[in-house]
């Protein structure tokens, strides 16, 4: 057993190169906030995030393990882990490369790679993998979320076009504009569930697409918009995999990643926890340091325990990805669930300890540059992002309870 990431001499040399490159290309020393989207457009931080995304993308490091021919880094898992680890250690990163381009590559890129035509791969993957284009995830609808196979949006073939009608919700972020919509729609209303869905990469400029902003608790990754598709005519070149894959996209929507990517987020101490530990060591109430209050201590021990379990589950997930041991099991879902539980535990503890100071974004009095305020409501906003805890448990059940599908 080994619970430590160690470099071979060859990897140590590579790590030096990565450090030098980062020093040269991204020397900024400010911290990005807990949520990269919690940044005003055109602020220095926003510009830095874009710059970092494009620099990492041009180097191939947004998708370090992907083939170079599609815009990836062509790195081994060990090398990719070094890139991730080095990025994660920088003050401007929270947990690695994923800060700069969440999910477009790991979701949409993988799906295109899996069933796209060679022409589509050559056309869409390089700009996606280089971080040059933004896609919004057009999966969820007003009447379907966790049960994604129940989508109602239709895309009916008419010659070499598909006519799209329907509504998608909770797309995108507040500050970005999309270039494409990753759209899933029913292409054959008469076919059986799971055998009736196509995947499209829809340019946002097509006639018949409109959008309105949704008033979500702000800043969560899946936040901003509702989109309407009114007789939108989408040419077949945007149907991933072409006509012959028009009804069988489900198999790639529901399966595991083709290019496992290491995530070294587990190797970095949680900065909110570090901030609060430091804060209570220095702050007095009623003449007594907060760190001497037994309730404060107990609350921070509990967050520490949850964070440690989270770290170990993250390490295990990374190990599974690195060794290709098992790509489908309950472990990834368990790690996601633990992440949500941990962040909720933190939010409650920090709010208890810090009081209303955890609720403000005031430029003078907000704690940790406003990150504590974000941390406070993030678990609520993020509870459903990607997957709800309840559905996490349903997925775990198949493995953990050995209960049939």
């Amino acid at each position: 057993m080994d619970f430590e990431f160690r470099d071979t001499p060859k990897l140590a040399k590579f790590r030096k190169e990565v450090r030098a490159w980062l020093d040269l290309n991204m020397p900024m020393d400010f911290e990005i906030p807990d949520n990269p989207h919690d940044v005003l457009p055109h602020s220095a931080k926003y510009e830095f995030i874009l710059k970092a995304r494009h620099a990492l993308g041009a180097k191939g490091w947004l998708a370090p393990t992907w083939p170079k021919e599609y815009g990836g880094g062509g790195l081994s898992m060990e090398e990719a882990a070094i890139v991730e680890g080095e990025v994660a250690q920088r003050p401007w990163s929270r947990f690695g490369v994923g800060d700069f381009f969440p999910s477009t590559i790991t979701q949409f890129g993988v799906q295109i790679y899996a069933i796209g035509t060679e022409e589509q791969k050559k056309r869409f993957l390089p700009p996606i993998l280089k971080g040059e284009i933004i896609r919004w995830n057009g999966s969820t609808e007003p009447d379907c979320g966790s049960d994604l196979a129940a989508v109602k949006t239709t895309a009916i073939r008419d010659g070499d076009e598909y006519v799209v009608n329907g509504t998608k919700v909770w797309l995108g972020t507040q500050y970005d504009n999309a270039d494409y919509i990753q759209l899933i729609a029913v292409t054959d209303p008469k076919a059986a569930r799971h055998h009736n869905i196509g995947l499209f990469c829809v340019p946002v400029g097509l006639p018949g697409i409109s959008k309105v902003r949704l008033p979500m608790i702000r800043n969560c990754h899946t936040s901003g918009w509702q989109m309407f598709f009114d007789n939108v005519r989408v040419p077949v070149e945007y149907l991933i995999g072409g006509h012959e894959n028009a009804t069988n996209a489900w198999r790639v929507l529901s399966t595991a990643t083709r290019f496992p990517q290491p995530n070294m987020g587990w190797s970095v101490r949680d900065r909110n926890q570090e901030f609060v530990l430091d804060y209570v060591r220095k702050t007095k109430r009623d003449g007594q340091l907060l760190s001497q209050d037994p309730d404060v201590r107990e609350a921070l021990v509990e967050t520490e325990i949850q964070l440690e379990i989270n770290r170990l589950f993250g390490m295990r997930q990374n190990w599974i990805a690195m060794t290709g041991k098992r790509l489908v099991g309950y472990e990834a879902t368990q790690a996601t669930l633990q992440g949500k539980v941990t962040t909720a535990t933190q939010a409650e503890a920090y709010a208890d300890i810090l009081g209303p100071a955890a609720l403000i974004k005031d430029p003078e009095w907000a704690l940790f540059d406003g990150n504590i305020e974000y941390k406070h409501f993030a678990p609520v906003a993020m509870a459903s992002a990607g997957i709800t805890q309840e559905v996490s448990k349903m997925i775990m059940t198949r493995w953990a309870c050995r209960v049939g599908d």
């Binding site: 080994d2 107990e298 170990l312 633990q338 349903m394 209960v403």
Partner: protein, 382 residues
């Protein structure tokens, strides 16, 4: 490189241990042995010693095999899976390590080979009426008199000492400002004059055999001192730390078994015309058990790895592992019991033995409430 798999050799150890407990210790026997007067099977103990398990982490020079803590834990996990009771932790780990790390050459030569062979059983007598696992709780006195030491006081909640030949008694030889100073370890024969042993758990429904040891002017020679006079805690403290995740591994095995029992039951038991595993409220319980299992498993093995590799942060890891294992084991067996309904509290069913062990080991070597305080000290460096 991060590698969370057991080595091939450890996989073989695991298989051997699992086959052994499955073959030698099926559920009916687990109930019979655990419920017997001594809570112990000398026959199984002999077989375990023959397999080399008792001396596993003791040095080869003294009859042990000098294996790693992870190796030892792999066996403990299987013993915990089977709810197999034995003085292995007391004799082979706690006392064996105390002697091998603190004893004189003569003591090691005299004691360790017979401990490793299982012929001599030792138990650790640390905790007292003022219960706790820190040095400040040690009140039993040892006073020098006529070239001997005279021990007076009481040790409570001591497992395994009723089947032991000797105990290592943690005594106070002097009292200063620092409670860690002035503690001395004595090897005491169970048959020593003035020493009496009483089963405290007689009649109790829940928990393992726990004993009270009364020392009424028990005289021991200077040769009985393990390590230096007044410096016993410096020997014992790291031993307690190293033994703790080994115990945690036993608890991990218990949680594993609780999970297996739960899964087996929910897929066969029917209610309202369907197997109960199809009910999400039941599934939620099993998810909780699995989360407890994996949390305990990885915190425990990281602590063991740190001990084997002498990595920094051992105390924090061990503290974390014990909190998570203690709380997780109790939660897992309780949920398994709830899933089983009344069958979960029928003493003819082996789950009962796991419920008992989850309680006994909850506090052993440190309970979560005390350990959470220790974790706070570590977090705040105070």
């Amino acid at each position: 490189m991060v590698d969370l798999a057991l080595s091939e050799a450890q996989e073989i150890i695991k298989r051997t241990a699992h086959d052994f407990v499955e073959r030698e210790f099926p559920a009916p026997l687990a109930i019979e042995v655990n419920e017997s007067e001594k809570g112990f099977s000398p026959e199984l103990w002999r077989k375990m010693a023959d397999l080399g398990w008792v001396g596993m982490i003791l040095p080869e020079a003294y009859g042990g095999t000098g294996s790693s803590f992870v190796d030892m834990a792999v066996i403990f996990q299987e013993l915990g899976w089977a709810a197999l009771p034995s003085p292995l932790l007391s004799s082979g780990v706690l006392c064996g390590l105390t002697i091998s790390e603190g004893g004189t050459e003569q003591q090691k030569k005299r004691l360790l080979p017979s401990i490793a062979k299982g012929q001599r059983i030792l138990a650790l007598a640390l905790t007292e009426p003022d219960y706790g696992w820190g040095p400040e709780t040690v009140k039993l006195t040892a006073k020098a008199k006529n070239g001997k030491f005279v021990l007076n006081g009481t040790k409570r909640y001591i497992p395994d000492v009723h089947i032991a030949d000797q105990c290592i008694c943690v005594a106070r030889t002097s009292q200063g400002a620092d409670p860690q100073e002035g503690i001395t370890l004595f090897l005491v024969d169970k048959s020593a004059q003035g020493l009496s042993c009483r089963d405290m758990s007689a009649g109790a429904q829940i928990g393992e055999k726990l004993n009270e040891l009364a020392f009424d002017s028990v005289e021991v020679d200077h040769s009985a001192v393990i390590g230096e006079v007044d410096k016993g805690w410096q020997v014992l403290s790291p031993v307690l730390e190293k033994a703790t995740p080994v115990l945690c591994a036993y608890m991990v095995g218990g949680i594993q078994r609780a999970w297996e029992m739960a899964v087996s039951y929910i897929n066969t038991r029917e209610a309202f015309g369907r197997t109960i595993g199809s009910f999400e409220r039941i599934q939620d319980h099993v998810i909780e058990i699995v989360n407890a299992l994996d949390s305990a498993r990885w915190t425990t093995y990281e602590a063991l790895w740190k001990i084997d590799e002498q990595k920094p942060g051992i105390t924090k890891s061990v503290t974390l592992a014990k909190i998570v294992s203690s709380e997780g084991y109790r939660k897992a067996v309780d949920l398994t019991s709830r899933i089983h309904g009344a069958a979960g509290v029928d003493t003819r069913f082996v789950l009962y033995q796991y419920i008992k062990k989850s309680r006994s080991f909850y506090h052993y070597l440190g309970g979560p409430m005390a350990l959470r305080k220790r974790m706070a000290h570590l977090l705040f460096n105070d």
